[in-house]
Amino acid sequence: MILETLSIIFLVLGAFFSITGAIGLFRFPDFFTRVHAASITDSIATLLIIIGLILRTDFGLIAVKLLFILIFLLLTSPTASHALAKSARHGGLLTMAETRDDKNKEAH
């Protein structure tokens, strides 16, 4: 019963972060803020959802498999976000603050 409630709380929180990530992906102004929003869905939302799912198993083989998936995702998805952001920097994309500075310089 307690496990059930806990699992529901985790799942709802996970769903909430998924939705905020998705909204952020559409509404945020530039690439880097969008990567930030997308990486929220990748990291915290999957973490919460998988913990919520583990609480629903009988802590046998399925829980272990879910744990493996969790560890794998925690390793790979931040790396993927990092690679995205870094390759954008490499390609010469500026953050919003930097673009603003550039414009100010031109104005002066």
Binding site: F72, L75, T76, T79, H82, A83, K86
Partner: protein
Amino acid sequence: MAVFIDLMLLGMLAITALRVIFLKDLFAVVMLFGIYSFLSALIFVNLDAVDVAFTEAAVGAGISTVLMLGTLALTGRKEKTNNHKSWLPLLVVVATGAALIYGTLDMPPFGDPNNPAQQHVAPRYIQDSPQEVGLPNMVTSVLASYRGFDTLGETAVVFAAAIGVFSLLGLPKRDRAAIESGLKSHLVLRVVAKLIIPLILLFALYVQFHGDYGPGGGFQAGVIAAAAIILYALVFGLPLATHVLQPSLLKVLAALGVLIYAGTGVVSLFLGGNFLDYNVLASDPIAGQHLGIIIIELGVGITVFAAMLAIFYAFAGQAERKNIP
């Protein structure tokens, strides 16, 4: 609930497909194709067809996205504008579509358990495969034993695709001088890649040999193992990857897998059975079936691994050659 999820996924599938038609940026189209494959995989999961979903996720969303990106690196990312008149193709498509829809009117109702498709051989497989083959995963029994000849054909198709790419593009040469290339500055990527590549290979072996008991098998395992080496090539550079796994070795491996598969069939012929009849491989028919299925799945895995990796090598080698001069 399942119907609701199905409708949602099918709707998203239709939206993705429409977007693919109207987008001119091929890079985004490739990404949308990946999403399309993932959505189909989800639909297959919802239909309880986990083996197919696994294959779709690994092959459709994983490796073919990488291969299409490799193609884009050679061809450029903008679609060519065409100046053809569009009404004639439209007319042809509408007429064909109308004929197809008219044809489906005579078909039995969708998803009805009494359909000929469900009544033809499926009940026999479901009833007799626990006694005849004895594998917990019935999909593998059908794929590798009852329909072993079809799967041999599929493996040969993968092999033929690799041969086609070899003869068109050629494989990259081993180049000792260029080993020190790759994404040198990307420390995070290098560390994480080193960390997870062994895990990916381990998972590929698990999928390969666990296919008898759960979802998995040679096709998925081969693709996953190829993905691990592709990741290695992307992070540490193609020259180093070709140094570790030589292109000439891949040629041999691709042929070896098909040889193992067809050879199993020939061996069973010599032992007095039909082609690919595994019953005669051991004294006990069921043990023979298990042995035969493991061997031919291994053959499938080797061929798929070598073919996918060789196709990637060929594309990446061309792209590097184009960039260097």
